[in-house]
Each structure stands twice: as structure tokens, then as C-alpha cells.
Amino acid sequence: MIAERWITLLTLAGFLAIPLWALAVDEPFTITLATRAAILALAAVGLNIALGIGGMVSLGHAAFFGLGGYAMGILAFHAQSFQPLDLGLFTIEGTKSMPVIWLTAIAVSALAAWLIGLLSLRTTGVYFIMITLAFGQMFFYFAISWGTYGGEDGLSIYVRNSFPGLNTLVPIQFFAICFVALCAALFFQWRLRASPFGLALNAARQSEARVATVGLSPKRLKLLAFVISGAITGLAGALFADLNRFVSPTMFSWQLSGELIILIIIGGVGRLAGPVIGAALFVALEHWLGGLTDFWHVWLGLILLLIVLFARGGIVGLLTGKAGPHV
């Protein structure tokens, strides 16, 4: 059996090697696929902090993904149409600068996560799953009928936003940005998990009473984790929008929330490498099976079933021989 640390490092090395190989043999689309996987992995890393460490099964994380996406879409839309965004009290100029967009995405989704978390954490278990779903759906329907930014048609941004010193239109450079963001998030999660906060949060998932008994509020721990989680998923949303140069309400859909959960389960709940392996595998399957047959969903379903039935703890669980945290 393999130690988890090695799995994480090997996964990341593989994640880096494939696009570099693709660059060498001039397969730019493979780089795009790897970028997509990296961004989905980043979103799932965000969710994994809430779900894997804090035990909060959120079926509403698409809300943060979408908010990040629309933060990008709206700012870039106002930049490309040269009309400032009118917020009533004051106006904001649009921008095409990625760092500014990212900060906005993080701030907006963190704020939303704080509000949603505050209300949702009154509930637990399946009720928590469903109330987060409800908030996600509210955003979804709002985005569909909000004509100013395209409604269901979404918003197209014609040129990818810029990052100082890089040409983001070159696939490998944009991949580099996303990969660094993913590594940073993983490093953050690793430190977080080992910190006093991570210790307390992990204990709160297992026994709220225990945490309360040592004088800590499980709700407050979970709320902070939910905010951090939402912020990371929001950042991923902004990157995803930039990858596609397009945002639409599908980023808010419950199917996307479900997909993020599934990525994590495939890889391994609460494991550092879990979302990364899950996303890579999912994107690869989608691409490869989709090319084989129109009915590839059947085969995808069968593969997922096999993973649940025979690889408890996901791929990482299978490799390390340990079931991992119980949610």
C-alpha cells in the first residue's frame, strides 16, 4: 500500500507531465482538457474542505462556482462594452485583469457562503443537503431570468482576461495559471488540515458534542470552513469562465453541484489528492468514452457503480488501503 503523501505528489506530477507532453507533440487540445480538469479539481478541493473535513455535504456549491463565473463575466462584460457597472450608490469600471477578477470572485462567493452557511447550518444530514440545494436553485433560476447578463443564453467574453506577464490565450500558459492555483489550494488545505482549526473542524465532523465540551462552537468552526470552501470554489468558477470565455446559468445548476461531489467520491473523500484524481479521471472518461459511443453514459454509470461497490474510500482509499474519513 502506498502512503498518501506519495499519491498526492505523483498525481500532481502526472498532472503537470501530461500537458507538457502535449505541448511537445503539439496537441493543444489535451492541454485544454488538462486545464478543465485542473479547474474542476480546484472547485472540488474547495468543496472537499467543507465535505471531507467538515462533514458538510453541500449540494449547492454550484452557487459559488456560478458566482465566481459571473463575477468574471460581469466585470469583463463591462470592460469589453466600456460601460461602467452601475450599483446605484456608485459605479465600478469593468476590468479584464485576472487578479482583480479573482479577488472579486473570492469576496463575492465568500460573502454568499457566509449567508448560506449561516442559515443552512441550522440543519444537519439530508436536510443540510437539501437546503443547500435550495439556495443553489434560487441562484440558478435567478440567473436564467436575469436578462441584463444574457439570461439562459449566458455571456460571451470574446478575449480571455489578462494576467501580468503572461499571454493567457496560449493554452499552456493558462494551464500554468490554473495549475498553480490548484497547487496553492492544495497546499492551503494541507496546512489547514494540520492547523488547530483543522483539528477542531475534523473533530466537529465526528462529534459536535466533543468539540463543544472543550469550549469550541462547532457551528462557528463549520461556518468558517464553509466560507473558505465557498471562496475556493468561487475562484475556480472565475477560472472556468475564463477557460470557456463564457458564463451561463448552467454553472449554477444542481447537476454541477452533484458532479463536484461525485469527483470527490471517485477520488476519495477528505483526501488531498481525492478531487484531483477524481477530476482527472472524470474528464478523461468523458472525453474517451464520449468518443467511443453515443451511449457512453451507460458505461460511465457502470464504472461509477464499480468504484462505489469495490473501491470504498475512492481511488485514494483503494491505493492506500485505508477507508478514509466517514461522512
Partner: protein, 376 residues
């Protein structure tokens, strides 16, 4: 980097000196809900390619699952890896909005076999974007015009609450001269229309216009037919195409709908198309199939006239639209959207099969409302 570029240039030279190879990327919906439309477009398109007997047109087909992000990803793949010259196939407006601006900005041609969102016809038009089907408002405008000729004076209109729905009702109102009894936006994907039908019953309208694509339309028509409300219904062809009619059944009989194509439109191309499509696939063609077929024939005509590597010449060849369309006369307006006749047709039963019969012309040589905004 330099060597790669050079290699690409050499490859391009080689390709153009050989028989003018054209690579076409088709992104369409082949799985999940709405797959029927994509399959029809694909089948119509491939039928035309097959009939042309050419081997210099290569078509790469991919399934977008009706998800915008997948469509964008596939477009990237076709442009970056497959190095296609022409893209086509997208069914849904929101997917087209995601793909088309970026693709044309990268110098690719896009031929739309179905979606025609208004931004791409107006301010966002592009010299490399050609719509072979219709601008989204067209069939609704024709329905408004038909309602005038049918003598309706007070319409109850409804559509789902999303951009295409708003466009639909706007399009109808643009041509309809009577009163609007009520204007209703339903939920996207709604399946139960009892509440709306009750409102129709109470509204005092003399006609109903609805735009509810796919399963929504099936549900509405079945429930409407059973409700005992007997106001005449008008709709665009989307809820009455060949794939859907069998699922609606007798509930659709007699409903008038507007379409730029029908299988009984009298011209040799169309007759041959209907016959060969049935022979090839064992089912009647739908308007989506006819659009796919026309798109392929437009492409073939342009490939015959110009080399795709000479973008300006190829664009001119496309603009000329020098091909025999299943709709009869076909020409592009200044914004590369069709100027075409739109018909009113009625749902009839032929033996066991439900299908449409052309009643007459609803709008003659109709362009669209956005052409003036297009600057190119």
C-alpha cells in the same frame, strides 16, 4: 515554437495544393434530452455529403450533451487539434452564443443549421458567421402575420422565461396587429400547464400563441386538447416537427404552425430529399433534417467555387448561396441570415402518421429585424 509554426504552414501549403481538403467540425446534441434534434441535423447533413459522393470533405462529429461548457471545449478541440476549417451543428441558442463569437474571432467559418440568436444577427454579426436556418424571431413573426390573416383579434401568448422565450413573444407581437389578452412566462422545463390553461379559459382571448420547445410543447398540447378549451392555437414549427408529432398524437390535429420548410414544398430538391432521407433512415425528415441537408449543400457549393484557405473567396462563395435548397429560393441578407418565405402549415394525419400540410404563405421573402444593426 517557430518550427511548429513553420511545419503548420508547410502542411497548409501541401493541403491546398492537393485536392482542396475541407475539414468540418460538427458539434451537436447527440445524447440526453434534446438529442433528437441533433441527430436529425447530423443525419440530414451527412445525407447531403454522401449524395455528393465527395471525399474531399471530412466531417468530425462530437456530442455537446446540450452543455455550453462542453460545446466550448469541443470547439477548442476542433480548432486546436483537428484544425477544422468550418464549424457547424449547434442546436441551441445558448450553446451557439458560447461557441460562435470565439470561433469566428479565430478566423473559422461557422454555418448555423438551427440556432439564430438575435445578438449574432445584429450588433454581434460576423462576416464568417452564416445562418442557414432562420433568425430566432422569424417563425414567431410569421405566426403573428398568419394570425392577422386568419382574422384573430385577441391573442393569449405564452413562452418559457428565458431569452429565446422573450424573443418569441416579441417576434409575435412585432407582426400581430390585434390585442394581447395576456402574456405569460412559464418556467423553463415546466411539464404541467393546467394553471396556464385555466387562465386561457378565463381570458376571453380568441386565439392562443405558444412557444414551448421539446417536451414542454408535448405536455401543453396534450393537456390543452383535454381541457375542453377550443380556441385556435398557433405555434412555431418546433413543437410540430416530425419527431415530436407522434408523441403528441391526435391532440395536435388541426393546429396551424409556421415553418420555412415542409415536406410537401414543391421543388425537385425537396422531393428528392424527402424520398432519399426516408430510404436512408426509415423515418420522415423533420425541419431540422432539412436544415442540416441545406447546410451541407451550401458548404459543398462553396467548396466547389473557392478554396477554403482563401477566406475572402470562400466567404464570397458562401454568400452567393449558389445551391438548390429544399425550401426553394434561398438567399442571404446583409447580415448573412436567410431571406426566405415562411409558410403556415397544418397538422394532419396520413394513415398512421401525423405530419404537416402546407396551407399557404405566411411571410414572403422575409428577412429579420436586426439586419440594420449589423455592421460588417
Amino acid at each position: 515554437m517557430k518550427t511548429i509554426l513553420a511545419a503548420a504552414a508547410t502542411a497548409a501549403l501541401l493541403a491546398s495544393s492537393a485536392a482542396a481538403e475541407v475539414k468540418v467540425g460538427m458539434i451537436t446534441t447527440l445524447s440526453g434530452g434534446g438529442a433528437g434534434l441533433g441527430i436529425d441535423v447530423r443525419d440530414g447533413f451527412m445525407l447531403a455529403i454522401k449524395q455528393s459522393g465527395r471525399d474531399d470533405i471530412e466531417v468530425v462529429i462530437e456530442d455537446d450533451q446540450r452543455k455550453p461548457d462542453i460545446a466550448v471545449q469541443l470547439a477548442d478541440k476542433m480548432i486546436q487539434s483537428e484544425k477544422v476549417d468550418v464549424l457547424t451543428g449547434i442546436i441551441w441558442s445558448n450553446l451557439a452564443m458560447a461557441v460562435v463569437p470565439a470561433a469566428t474571432a479565430q478566423g473559422k467559418f461557422y454555418l448555423s443549421p438551427n440556432a439564430g440568436p438575435s445578438p449574432l444577427a445584429g450588433k454581434g454579426c460576423h462576416p464568417n458567421y452564416f445562418n442557414v436556418a432562420w433568425q430566432n424571431d422569424n417563425l414567431h413573426e410569421a405566426a403573428g402575420a398568419y394570425a392577422n390573416t386568419a382574422g384573430y383579434g385577441n391573442s393569449f401568448i405564452l413562452a418559457p422565461n428565458y431569452p429565446a422565450g422573450t424573443d418569441a413573444l416579441t417576434g409575435y407581437k412585432r407582426f400581430f396587429e390585434g390585442e394581447i389578452a395576456n402574456e405569460l412566462y412559464t418556467e423553463l422545463g415546466q411539464t404541467d400547464y393546467a394553471a396556464e390553461i385555466a387562465q386561457i379559459r378565463a381570458s376571453g382571448a380568441d386565439s392562443v400563441y405558444f412557444f414551448l420547445p421539446g417536451g414542454m410543447g408535448i405536455s401543453f398540447l396534450k393537456q390543452y386538447a383535454d381541457s375542453g378549451v377550443d380556441l385556435p392555437v398557433v405555434g412555431p414549427a418546433f413543437s410540430f416537427d416530425q419527431g415530436i408529432l407522434q408523441a403528441v398524437g391526435a391532440a395536435a390535429l388541426g393546429v396551424v404552425n409556421t415553418s420555412q420548410w415542409n415536406k410537401d414544398i414543391d421543388n425537385p430538391t425537396n422531393a428528392a430529399f424527402v424520398e432519399s432521407f426516408q430510404a436512408e433512415y426509415g423515418r420522415l425528415p423533420s425541419l431540422y433534417a432539412s436544415q442540416g441537408f441545406d447546410t451541407a449543400n451550401l458548404l459543398i457549393s462553396a467548396v466547389d467555387a473557392a478554396d477554403v484557405s482563401d477566406a475572402d473567396a470562400f466567404r464570397e462563395a458562401l454568400r452567393a448561396a449558389n445551391f438548390a435548397s429544399t425550401r426553394g429560393d434561398f438567399a442571404f441578407g446583409p447580415n448573412h441570415h436567410p431571406v426566405q418565405t415562411i409558410y403556415a402549415r397544418e397538422v394532419v394525419q396520413e394513415g398512421e402518421v401525423f405530419t404537416n400540410k402546407t396551407l399557404g404563405v405566411a411571410l414572403e421573402n422575409h428577412s429579420d429585424a436586426y439586419a440594420a444593426e449589423c455592421k460588417m
